[in-house]
């Protein structure tokens, strides 16, 4: 081991990295349950695609742009293609930079995957791959540099423990831009487009919560006090969100809904993401309880609009990330975090720093994503045709179905495997 490495910290960060990677297939499952049965595989595959594409772009330039140097707006290219990323400890931590790189890569992956929720059931797969590659560099890496890597937000004093800026607000407001640019599904607002499997949604949310202990608990890069605080807050905050969500459901429809509960788990985890290592356990529970209300309201309101932000990334991630970032400005407590107090403890400047991030991140994410999609849309069609949308993206984009019966299927042997299907009724 190189000097300056702590074995306990490194062991935890190796586990935390694996936990965060699990969140992306978990998100795939969560999203897959929320769509119709003809789009299950395509929806899940968008999350898998993010693992594929964002990992490569992260290794190529994303990591370097986010974490090399202390430029105000963007990092350098000193670590491009993982140059210099080795066993030596990452600056400011006691873990090898290789582990730090991998941990941060999993953040880039899940954030890229999150945006798919805005465009499922109609965006073509190939443009989504290109979009993922470009977005992970042009939006994620830039915002990660601002908030984590030495850019103007972190050096100006903004506190963001595990990614309220680059993960939650970035994905939420990019999702809004993507939904507006790609447009609504053809039947949106005319027909009921219902989740096909609520159990997937609950299981996906549960696995996301499990992985989130690595996401927040690992964002102190050690087994030290901030990590321990964030870990336990990751249990407390979403539980409070769940209870309040139940109450809101009861008031609105007299029944507590399962998909509402799954949504509440995600919202609660998002709320505590920026604040995890900065607020006391008691304030974490208050954050979970209060933060449920705006996300709940936006979900109810959004479905009455023409904006088909299909899986409510804006409500669950953008809004809750926004609330979490601002909450730090009020309730951060130096006695717990050792870094800074919020307004409630006499430091009004912290609220200003948090408000700055809460304005800058959504603006950059929304504008950059919109421009990116406009450029991409000029080169290739982003959407499937109405006919393809009706058939379902699984068959059209992947040549597979999630719930195939096999009845009437004819095995094509390898020697005629290239045969193109002909209409059986066609005498020719």
């Amino acid at each position: 081991m190189s000097s300056g490495i702590d074995t306990g910290d490194t062991a935890w960060m190796l586990v935390a990295t694996a936990l965060v990677l699990l969140m992306t297939p978990a998100l795939g499952l969560f999203y897959a349950g929320l769509v119709r049965s003809k789009n299950v595989l395509n929806t899940f595959m968008m999350s898998i695609a993010a693992i594929a594409v964002a990992t490569i772009t992260w290794a190529a330039v994303g990591y370097s742009l986010a974490f090399d140097g202390h430029g105000a707006l963007i990092g350098g290219l000193g670590n491009a293609f993982m140059s210099g990323v080795d066993f030596a400890p990452r600056e400011g931590t006691t873990i090898p930079e290789l582990v730090f790189f991998a941990f941060q890569a999993t953040f880039c992956i899940i954030t890229t995957a999150l945006i798919s929720g805005a465009v499922v059931e109609r965006m073509r797969f190939a443009p989504f791959l290109v979009f993922s590659a470009l977005w992970s560099v042009l939006v994620y890496a830039v915002l990660a540099h601002w908030a984590f890597g030495g850019g103007w937000l972190i050096s100006g004093g903004t506190l963001d423990f595990a990614g309220g800026v680059p993960v939650e607000m970035a994905s939420g407001f990019s999702a809004l831009a993507a939904a507006l640019f790609v447009g609504a599904r053809k039947d949106y607002g005319r027909q009921a487009l219902l989740p096909h499997n609520a159990v997937f949604v609950l299981l996906g949310a549960g696995l996301l919560w499990f992985g989130w202990f690595g996401f927040n608990g690992g964002s102190g890069f050690s087994t030290g006090e901030p990590s321990v605080l964030a870990f336990t807050n990751t249990l407390l905050c979403p539980a409070a969100t769940l209870v309040v969500w139940f109450a809101l459901d009861l008031m609105r429809g007299r029944k507590v809904t399962a998909i509402g509960a799954a949504t509440a788990i995600v919202v609660g985890c998002v709320l505590i993401t920026p604040a995890g290592g900065y607020v006391s356990p008691g304030w974490a529970m208050l954050l979970g309880a209060l933060g449920a209300i705006p996300s709940y309201g936006i979900i109810v309101w959004r479905t009455r609009t023409r904006v088909d932000e299909t899986l409510d990334v804006l409500a669950a991630h953008g809004t809750a990330g926004f609330i979490g970032i601002l909450f730090i400005g009020f309730f951060a407590q130096e006695a717990w975090n050792g870094v800074s107090d919020g307004l409630l403890y006499g430091n009004a400047a912290q609220l200003g720093d948090q408000a700055l991030a809460a304005l800058a991140a959504p603006t950059y994410a929304f504008v950059a994503t919109f421009v990116l999609l406009k450029a991409l849309g000029a080169v290739m069609p982003l959407r499937a045709s109405d006919r393809e949308e009706a058939m379902g993206m699984d068959v059209v984009q992947h040549g597979e179905e999630a719930y195939v019966t096999g009845e009437g299927a004819i095995l094509l042997l390898p020697d005629d495997g290239e045969k193109v299907a002909v209409p059986v009724a066609d005498p020719g």
Partner: protein, 117 residues
Amino acid sequence: MKLVIGIVRPEQANQVLEALYRAEVRGFSMSRVQGHGGEMDRVETYRGTTVQMGLSEKVRFEVAVSDGFVDKTVGALCEGGRTGEVGDGKIFVVPLDHAVRIRTGDSDEGAVTPVSK
């Protein structure tokens, strides 16, 4: 009295429902079926196994109507089910000997005519 059977694409089912309501056809049943009607087969691949899917998902509407409603029903099925591509489905109209409404015991024309209560 006729039984109108319409087999349509599942993605058109909602349009068919809307068309039936517009035509004031109130009573029907529908079921998911698999069928083949001359459309292009889909070729799918599952981990190296390539298969030609000979059967497509369809939705089958069954509507028992009095004679005056036959044309309206057929029209609604056509209007809602048509996309213009091979595989839109078919409609069969067959004679119906006898019908009974279980709740009241009404038979024949009375059984297939919608009641307000």
